[in-house]
Amino acid sequence: MTIKIKIRDREYQIEGEVQLTKALKHLNIPNQSVLAIRNGILLTEDEPLHSEDQIELIEVISGG
């Protein structure tokens, strides 16, 4: 019963239910650097994540 969080080619797993903002903090990913998508829907950071959710984080910073 885990939440799967994917960012590019990395995948993380978090146990139990947690708010998106807390999951990002746990993974040390600044909220400003990503957009989170679940089932094609953009999530705000207060969104609760549930067991078996698959979250894709889209990195938003680029440049050289």
Binding site: P30, N31, Q32, S33, L35, I37, I41, L42, T44, E45, D46, E47, I58, V60, I61, S62, G63, G64
Partner: protein, 309 residues
């Protein structure tokens, strides 16, 4: 979290503006914000022809879409740099730019660097050893030259690039850490036209990179998600990451940093003294006629005429 305007479920929370918006209201808000940014600095008008520099990434395609939606007369230019790096980077990004233009029936000019100058960017870099195998400096030089040349030759009033607030804040941070006053002085949303130099503008100067990405995702714009293979480990990315860590603790710090700079600039905090002005010399390249700060050939003509820089 609910949309501040209609109470629907919000798609995005803009901490820096203390505002949450649903998809429809966010897309409308970013259009209005871009229009306000254009008007605030008189970047261009509805009657002027605009050339927007397009890379196939989220920022430039979102900017092109927004300017088009706002009713500006805007064409695109894509520069094929010939970067492959085993992922077909240029090929993919070119295809996305072409698809974007074709779906909207917009005009896109494509300049293939290798076809025009016999070498692509990695080849130029290897030959000149400029940048110690990192092509970013050659790439920047070539892109700036081609964009300016194309805009001038084809009679555009203005060249628009999709530099966003995160770009501007990161560059300002770097220039401030180095106290590069000549660069700080020029980090403005508008650089006016001069002989040999088209007006350059940055309509996204107050748009967060996250907002540009959200606009692309929510409006279904397909963009190249892969990072330029050569940008990995770049100082600009490092500064952006640090600024985002600060922004998470201190919402709107990036916006305040850049807008504070613009206010300071308006108050002539960085203005040149009369003595300094006398020491600035500008020349025109003997080969192409573009503005340069050195005599004889400009850096681009030196690069393409086989010189080691």
């Amino acid at each position: 979290m609910h949309c501040q305007k209609c109470e629907k479920k919000a798609s995005i929370h803009l901490q820096q503006h203390r505002m949450a918006l649903c998809k429809e209201h966010f897309l409308e808000w970013l259009l209005n914000q871009t229009e306000n940014s254009i008007k605030k600095f008189h970047l261009f008008t509805k009657g002027e022809r605009i050339l927007v520099a397009v890379s196939g990434g989220k920022d430039s395609l979102s900017l092109w879409d927004i300017l088009w939606q706002l009713g500006y007369c805007v064409d695109g230019i894509y520069i094929d740099l010939g970067i492959d790096a085993r992922i077909g980077y240029s090929q993919k990004s070119r295809l996305l730019a072409e698809q974007f233009a074709s779906e909207r029936k917009l005009k896109l000019k494509v300049v293939d660097v290798k076809a025009a100058y016999s070498e692509n960017i990695p080849e130029m870099t290897e030959r000149t050893q400029r940048g110690q195998s990192k092509p970013c400096s050659v790439c920047g030089l070539v892109k700036r030259y081609i964009m300016n040349k194309s805009a001038l030759e084809e009679g555009y009033a203005v060249l628009a690039t999709a530099h966003n607030l995160d770009d501007e804040a990161a560059i300002l941070l770097m220039n401030t850490l180095n106290w590069s006053m000549d660069l700080i002085r020029r980090q403005l949303p508008l650089l006016p036209e001069r002989p040999g130099f088209v007006r350059k503008v940055k309509p996204f100067y107050r748009t967060y990179e996250r907002e540009a990405a959200a606009y692309a995702l929510l409006s279904g714009i397909r963009y190249i998600y892969e990072e330029c293979p050569y940008s990995k480990g770049s100082t600009q990315l490092y500064h952006k990451r640090i600024l985002n860590q600060i922004e998470d603790r201190q919402p709107s710090v990036k916006l305040d940093f850049y807008l504070g700079y613009l206010r300071a600039n308006e108050n002539r905090m960085f203005a040149l003294k009369a003595d300094d002005k006398e020491n600035i010399h500008e020349y025109y390249c003997a080969n192409c006629g573009q503005l340069t700060n050195r005599g004889d050939l400009c850096s681009f003509c030196n690069l393409t005429s086989g010189q080691k820089l």
